[in-house]
């Protein structure tokens, strides 16, 4: 039995991974797409190769007005994640994001991450979008980030979209064997 234990462990671990993948796939297929406008930021990381650092136009508001001398940063102080509701237009673009929603059950929930205790740094799911070397020029055209959000407000960053929410199809513009282009 001990002889086969490593193989049993590997199979059990793989099954666990399959479960994780299934959970995420279910999330992708049973959730709503919302689009958040991007702020321009600087791409590229030395270690990760090309990637797009993302910042979002969330248009933050609070459901409860701020008291005198109170700041938004104080409201979110030391909360690792913040529950919010987003108002969407007819194309599912986010118009405004309301923090601490209490009586807005009809709106779409969205969980924001708070890494720095600054409301300007709040973001949903991910602050970076990884892509293959040499596709930076194509992804520079991105204006919106597409998130798949479930009822609980948990989001997965799914893709980047253009001005009219059209898919950029960057991956299709390049063959894998080309690797890094020479004029990078």
């Amino acid at each position: 039995m001990k002889k086969y234990f490593s193989l049993i462990l590997a199979i059990a671990t793989t099954l666990f991974f399959v479960g994780l993948i299934a959970k995420n796939e279910w999330h992708l297929h049973h959730s709503k797409s919302i689009f958040i406008e991007l702020k321009p930021v600087d791409p590229r990381s030395i270690l990760q190769g090309d990637y797009m650092a993302l910042a979002y136009e969330l248009n933050l508001q609070t459901s409860k007005p701020l008291a005198e001398n109170e700041t938004l940063n104080q409201r979110i102080f030391n909360h690792a994640s913040i529950r919010a509701k987003v108002t969407l237009d007819s194309h599912n673009k986010v118009i405004r994001t309301i923090l601490e929603p209490k009586n807005l059950s009809a709106e779409q929930s969205l969980i924001l991450k708070n890494p720095e205790n600054r409301y300007q740094a709040l973001y949903p799911a991910s602050r970076s979008f990884l892509f293959a070397e040499g596709l930076a020029q194509c992804y520079e055209k991105a204006k919106y980030a597409e998130f798949k959000v479930n009822l609980k407000g948990e989001a997965i960053l799914f893709d980047l979209r253009g001005e009219e929410l059209q898919p950029l199809n960057c991956k299709k513009q390049k063959n894998w064997w080309e690797g890094t282009i020479k004029d990078l």
Partner: protein, 590 residues
């Protein structure tokens, strides 16, 4: 004529290394191609690769014929694949889950793999668990809310892992000494910045427990190292207190600090001699203390009045030279080294500020390098002098064309390449009696320069027109020609000789000839069983391949192909040398 055998290319162990390296090169070429195009692969393939490797590796590991070492290695690969699988799932589905969760799940999934003792898996668990703890406290803001709880958890977790380490994986105890050193020094710095007692306790708690354990087990080396760590932590406190006491005093404070440090570490050594009467490791704190005192002395000489500093510097160097010439006592020699370095630093620094001419500094440093050889110092001292000479020469060449910090000037680029190849040519020097005792210093210097050269000057030919490309071919070609005449031709004959030559020419053409020099140094390290040079050579190999990956001047496909070709040629070299050895063995038996 007797043939010198400084680089035994037909050594069986070296041939085995060639064999391993040929596979490493081929594997690296495939790895580069996959890694570079990873994000171009469909998500399903990305998600399949790591679990597939996990399953196949686990399946191979159950074979009865495997040795325990190979099985442990395979299980180690399984442990890495578990983490890689989690990372890929996180990358494909960008859910924004906190990264501590990834490390937590990885740690939990690794634990069952310890059913069979495995040092690699245990080391991995130590890293992932510490990362989990830190990231959890950071990402949930508990680090701000409950900083002392983190301190407690950090010490507790480290001590639990240390306990497992000394029970089952004693080889890792040095890593824990390094870990305790970091906890101790960071704790002391945090205590001094905030005067919070828990940080002071943390600065000594794990260290003292570690020292007590090693003392009880009579592990003299580890106890001495631990004592040196505690000594350094206490020194930080001492220096801070002295600084507070004499806030308005002049530069002599550094002299005072140097004296205190020296006395303090001498006391630690005295204490170690008392508890370990037969030990020779008491010298460790003494050496650490000597070098820390040297830093303080260097600070003292540097902040002094300019012309006086020159005189103090020269005086220090003279006193150190006399001590090195006259005494063989360990304590005195360490003191002399620290005096020498601090005096030399002050002298060179103020010489530059007085003359405003880097050339004088370079000439002075070459002179210092020459005279230091005659004191028969420790190999590390000569290495420091060689590296200092290279560093000063490098800065001088950068300044020569008023282009400091810029290697864009063609002439500067040419000069720096010439300088690096001048250092590489030290490998070609005949190994006479005069140089043999400092061979390690020479090789380590060449390795350091090779790493520096690759990191900052680039490995592969730059296509821009202002670079004089011919120099990249000429210098390594000259090196190879000299090596072939002095060494290769005398050891290898016929097809094997030409195969080695072809390998060198191929590396010149591909633009990473340093790899050839690394192989030559490796032959020496294997022959002499010099594990320091051997370890550093392997580390530089990794660095060169790493640098090559990040060189964006050529496509990944070309990079991958060139490394694959190098791997194939290496394999052919292995085969030829192996065949020749076999033939010689059969002829010998006849």
């Amino acid at each position: 004529m007797q043939i010198r055998d400084d680089y035994p290319l037909r050594n069986t162990l070296f041939i085995q290394h060639l064999h391993i390296f040929s596979y490493v090169f081929m594997a690296v070429s495939i790895l580069y191609l996959i890694a570079a195009n990873w994000l171009m692969l469909p998500d399903s393939i990305q998600l399949t690769i790591p679990p597939l490797i996990l399953l196949v590796t686990a399946w191979i590991s159950i074979k009865d014929t495997l040795s325990e070492g190979v099985r442990q290695t395979l299980h180690g690969i399984c442990g890495l694949m578990v983490g890689l699988s989690l990372a890929v799932i996180g990358q494909v589905y960008q859910t924004g889950a906190d990264s501590y969760l990834l490390f937590l799940i990885w740690t939990l999934l690794l634990l069952p793999w310890l059913y069979r003792p495995n040092i690699g898996i245990f080391a991995l668990i130590c890293i992932t668990s510490q990362l989990t703890l830190f990231l959890f406290f950071k990402q949930t803001f508990w680090l701000e809310k409950f900083p002392y709880l983190y301190l407690f958890a950090l010490n507790l977790l480290s001590l639990i892992e240390f306990w497992v380490c000394i029970k089952k994986y004693r080889a890792l105890r040095f890593v824990f000494i390094a870990c305790f050193a970091v906890i101790s020094i960071v704790g002391m710095i945090q205590y001094l910045s905030g005067e919070n007692i828990p940080y002071l306790i943390s600065a000594f708690f794990s260290g003292i427990i570690g020292f007590y354990y090693f003392f009880k087990k009579d592990d003299q080396l580890c106890a001495s190292l631990m004592a040196a760590v505690l000594g350094v932590t206490a020194t930080i406190w001492l220096v801070d207190r002295i600084n507070d006491l004499f806030k308005d005093s002049n530069e002599f404070i550094f002299l005072f600090i140097a004296g205190i440090i020296f006395i303090w570490f001498a006391l630690i050594s005295y204490f170690l001699i008392k508890i370990f009467r037969q030990s020779r490791f008491y010298i460790i704190p003494l050496a650490v203390g000597a070098w820390l005192a040297g830093l303080a002395l260097a600070a003292f000489t540097l902040v002094f009045w300019e012309a006086v500093s020159l005189i103090i510097g020269v005086t220090f160097v003279c006193i150190a030279s006399i001590l090195l010439k006259k005494s063989q006592h360990y304590f005195i020699r360490q003191f002399a080294y620290c005096l020498f370095i601090s005096g030399q630093t002050a002298f060179l620094f103020h010489l530059e500020s007085e003359t405003d001419q880097m050339l004088w500094v370079l000439i002075a440093q070459i002179f210092i390098l020459c005279i230091s050889y005659f004191f028969k110092p420790h190999w590390f001292f000569i290495l420091i002098q060689m590296l200092a000479t290279y560093g000063i020469a490098f800065i001088y060449l950068l300044q020569m064309y008023h282009s400091l910090w810029s290697v864009n000037s063609t002439q500067t680029y040419l000069n720096l390449t010439l300088l690096s190849y001048f250092v590489f040519s030290l490998v070609l020097l005949p190994k006479g009696r005069s140089i043999v005792q400092y061979e390690r210093s020479v090789y380590l210097c060449v390795l350091a320069v090779a790493s520096f050269f690759d990191t900052f000057m680039g490995l592969v030919l730059d296509s821009s027109e202002d670079r004089q490309i011919w120099i990249f071919y000429l210098l390594p070609s000259l090196w190879l020609l000299c090596f072939s005449i002095f060494y290769l031709y005398k050891h290898l004959h016929g097809i094997v000789f030409f195969a080695f030559l072809l390998f060198g020419v191929l590396l010149i053409a591909l633009g990473y000839f340093e790899v050839f020099i690394l192989f030559i140094i490796l032959t020496w390290a294997i022959k002499k069983k010099d594990y320091i040079v051997y370890g550093v050579t392997l580390a530089v190999f990794v660095l060169v391949l790493w640098q090559l990956y990040y060189n964006l001047q050529i496509t990944f496909l070309a990079k991958s192909a060139s490394i694959l070709i190098s791997g194939l040629v290496l394999w052919a070299l292995y085969w030829l040398l192996h065949q020749e050895n076999q033939r010689n063995l059969i002829e010998g038996e006849k």
